[in-house]
Subunit: 251 residues, 4 copies
Amino acid sequence: MPINVTVFGENIHERENPLVAEIYPIGMHGCIAAALNRDSELRANAVTQDQPEHGLTEQVLERTDVLTWWGHVGNGLVDDRIVERVHKRVLEGMGLIVLHSGHGSKIFKRLMGTGCDLTWRIADERERVWVCNPGHAIAQGIGATNFTIDREEMYGEPFGIPNPEEVVFLSWFQGGEVFRSGVTYRRGAGKIFYFRPGHETYPTYHHPIVQRVLTNAVHWARPEGRFPLGCAHVPVEQATERFVVDEVPAR
Amino acid sequence: MPINVTVFGENIHERENPLVAEIYPIGMHGCIAAALNRDSELRANAVTQDQPEHGLTEQVLERTDVLTWWGHVGNGLVDDRIVERVHKRVLEGMGLIVLHSGHGSKIFKRLMGTGCDLTWRIADERERVWVCNPGHAIAQGIGATNFTIDREEMYGEPFGIPNPEEVVFLSWFQGGEVFRSGVTYRRGAGKIFYFRPGHETYPTYHHPIVQRVLTNAVHWARPEGRFPLGCAHVPVEQATERFVVDEVPAR
Amino acid sequence: MPINVTVFGENIHERENPLVAEIYPIGMHGCIAAALNRDSELRANAVTQDQPEHGLTEQVLERTDVLTWWGHVGNGLVDDRIVERVHKRVLEGMGLIVLHSGHGSKIFKRLMGTGCDLTWRIADERERVWVCNPGHAIAQGIGATNFTIDREEMYGEPFGIPNPEEVVFLSWFQGGEVFRSGVTYRRGAGKIFYFRPGHETYPTYHHPIVQRVLTNAVHWARPEGRFPLGCAHVPVEQATERFVVDEVPAR
Amino acid sequence: MPINVTVFGENIHERENPLVAEIYPIGMHGCIAAALNRDSELRANAVTQDQPEHGLTEQVLERTDVLTWWGHVGNGLVDDRIVERVHKRVLEGMGLIVLHSGHGSKIFKRLMGTGCDLTWRIADERERVWVCNPGHAIAQGIGATNFTIDREEMYGEPFGIPNPEEVVFLSWFQGGEVFRSGVTYRRGAGKIFYFRPGHETYPTYHHPIVQRVLTNAVHWARPEGRFPLGCAHVPVEQATERFVVDEVPAR
C-alpha cells in the first residue's frame, strides 16, 4: 500500500527571488515531491500556500499519511484554521516532517509548545551532518558517519525545543556552531521529524543524501494507528469495575 | 531567599456552587496558598480569573518563581494575551504546576502541544495514588508507597500528553481505570509538573499529603536559570571561528 | 521479507509443575512461537535454556531479527557469556521483547542499567491493561481502550526502570496496585519492549489480545539498521576538516 | 547542610607521565576536589584507585552525596564488587558525575546499559562547548552561549548512549566532529551527569568554566530522596483493596 505524502511549500522565494527560481525551477516543493516519488512506495503531491486553503483541505489532509512542511517568510501568514486542521491530523496519526525554516512555522511551534528559537547566519559556509544513531531508520543508506553540505545557512544552539525522543543528526558548522539537526517526537499518534538543512538559496534539496534522509523519514513517519480525540465520559454503569460508593476499603 | 508562588484559581465554582463554597470558604486558591505558606521558604499569593488581567499582570509574573494553575469551566475564557504572557515566562524559567482540570487549560495545552484529553467520571470513588519514583524530590515525605483519596473524580487513560520526562505518580481508581497522575516536563528553562487530584466538590486540597506534594513540587519547579527568547543573528565577523568562503575542505 | 523471531523460554516450570505443563503442553515458548507463526510475515523458532548455549548460538542470534525472552527461576542461571552475546546483538540492532518475570533477567537489567525491581502478589486477581497511546504500533487491533486478564499475578509500582521512551500500557489490579505494563526503549540500534503479563500458572499466552500485542511488538521491534560497536580512532590526516595546530581562533 | 562529594581518580597517568604530573601536581582528582571546595557548600574529598577498595568503602559511599569519576587506562581494572557497590548507591540516590574517559568505565556502562562508544583523536585541537539549555542548573554562570577549550582530545558521534533526559552541552571540534558533551540521566533515585572535557595531557580541570560546570553539576546531582531496592511481596491480606477471588466483574 503506497504512502500518500503531501509536500507543502510556501512558494514565495521561488517566485520572488530569481536565484531561488533558478535553483528550483519547479519550486522546492516540486523538487522534494519529485525526489520522494522516485521511491515506488511513495505517492507525493506538492501543494502551496497560495492555493485555496493553502492546498490543505480536509479531503487532502484526510488522505495524507505524511505531510512535509517548508515555510519561511510566509510562516506568520498561514491561516490559523489550517494550522488547527493540521494539528488535529498529526495528533490523530498523520506523520509530519518539518524542514529548515519551518522551525518557525505555526504548526511546529504549536506541536512543540516552545518558541523553537535558534541562532543563524547566512555565509555560504560548510555544514557537516553527523549521524548520532546509525541504527535509526532515518539514518539508513547514508554510507558513512557523516555527510557534507558545501554551502548552507548556519543554525546554532540553543535550539528552543523540548528534549527529543531521539537525536538522529547533529550538525557542525565552519563558523564554530553546532545544532541538533535531526530530531524526532511523537505527539498523540503522530510521528514528527525536524530536519535542519534547506535554505532556499542553496541547492540542498538536490543533494542525494538529503533526499535519502527525507525518503527515510517519510517511511518512518507513516501512521501506526489513530488516537481518538476528545474527553470521553465513562458513566458509573459503564465502568469496567462495579463499585459501591462508601464501601470501606481494606486499609 | 524565599520562593515567590502565585496561586491562580478561576474562582467560579466557589462562588456558584454552595457545596464548593462550604468545602473551600476562601476558595481552592486560598486553601492552596495557605498550605504553601506553611512552608517558611515559600511566599504564596492567590490571584483569580475575575481580577483585571486575571491577576497575572506583567509585574506579578515577573516576580513569580512558580505559578500554580487550577481552571475548569473558565478554561476557555482565559484571555489569549495572558496565556501568551504566562507561556513566555515559563519558557524563560518560571515553574508551572498545573492542577486537575487545568489539563484542559489553554496554557497547559499550549505548552504540551497536544490535546491533553482523558476520560472522566464523577462518582465519589476511591483513588489510590502510587509513587513510581520514591527518590524523586516531588515524592518526598509521603511515608509510604501510595496514598489514598477517599472520594475523587476519575481521570482515565489515554491521557493525550507527550511522553513525560518522569512519571512520578500513577493513580488507581475503584471503577477500574488508571492514570498518569504526576508527570514532569521541561519546556525552555521552565519546569512543569501536572498533578491530577483536585475536583472542586471534594476536599482534596485539604488532604495533608496532597499539600505536601504541592509544596514539594513548588520547590522542585523553582527557576534554575533563564532561557533568552528570540532568534539571534550571528554575523560572520562575530562567528567564533574565522572561515574563508570557498576554502577547500580536507575531504 | 519475513521477520525471524527467536522465542527464548527457560522451560523449567513447564517440566516441574504439572499445572503449568497442563496449561502449556508445548511450553510457554512453544505457545508464543505458535501464536507468532500465525502471522505469515513472521518465522518464529523456540529455544530453551537447557539447550547448549541456551539455544542462543552466534549463528542463531546472527539471523535473529527479534528475540523474545521469558525467564523466572532460571534468571540467575543464564550464562554470562550468552548475556554478553545477546546484549551485543541488541546494541547492533536486534529487537528484544522481554516478558513478565523476565524483568529480573540478566539481559533486561543489563540493558536498563537499573535493578528493575517491583512489588508482586500471586492471588488469582483481575488485571486490566489500559492503552496509553492508542496510536502506537504495538497497541493496534485491540479494539478497545483496555483489555482484561481474568487472573494474573500482580506487579506493582515502583518499577525500577529508566523513564521509558513511551508508556504503551498501564495495568490496574484488583488489589489496588498499578503498573507500567508496556514500555519501550531504544538501546544502540536495538528496539526493546517490556510486556508485563504472563505468569506461568495462568493461560495468559493463550489470550488472543496478548498474542496480538506480542505480534505487534515483533513487527515494531524489527531492526531498522546496524550500530557499529567499538571506539574508532580518527587520525588527524583523516579528519573531515583540515586544521593547523596553534592556529589563532577568531575570538 | 553541606554536600559531601567524593572525587574518584584512577591516579595512573599522574604517576607515570611527567607531563600529566606537571599539569596536575596533586592529581586531576586533587585539582577537581580543590575546585569544588572553593564552594562553601561542598565538602569534597579525593580518593584513588590504588587505595584499598579504591577508596570507596561502604562507609565512604554511605556518606557520599555525589561521586565524581575519572578513569581511563585503569577502567578495566576496577574491582567488580566496587562497581556493584557504587551502582547500588546511585540507584538509591547518590549523584554521579562521570568525566571524560570515564565514558568507558564499568560503572558508566553499567548504568547506561550500552557500550558508550565514541570516536576520538588527540591532536591539540580546539573544542567549543555550546549550551543547549541556558536555563539548566548545570549551565549557570557561564556568561555566554559557549566557551572554548584551546586544546583538547576530540570525542565524536556516534556516542553510544541512551537518549538523555536533557542535552545540556554540545561540542564542536576543529577537525569537523560534534559530540553530546553534557548529558543528564536519572537511574533509580540517582541523578547522573556525563561531562566530556578532561583529557589528562591538557590543563582542562584548571579551566574556570569547567570548574564552574562541575560545581553546578554537584549541586544539581545532590540526592533528592531514596529509592528502596528489592522486590517486595505484598500478601493478599496486606493489599490496599480487599478483593474476592472469582468475584464477577462488571463487564
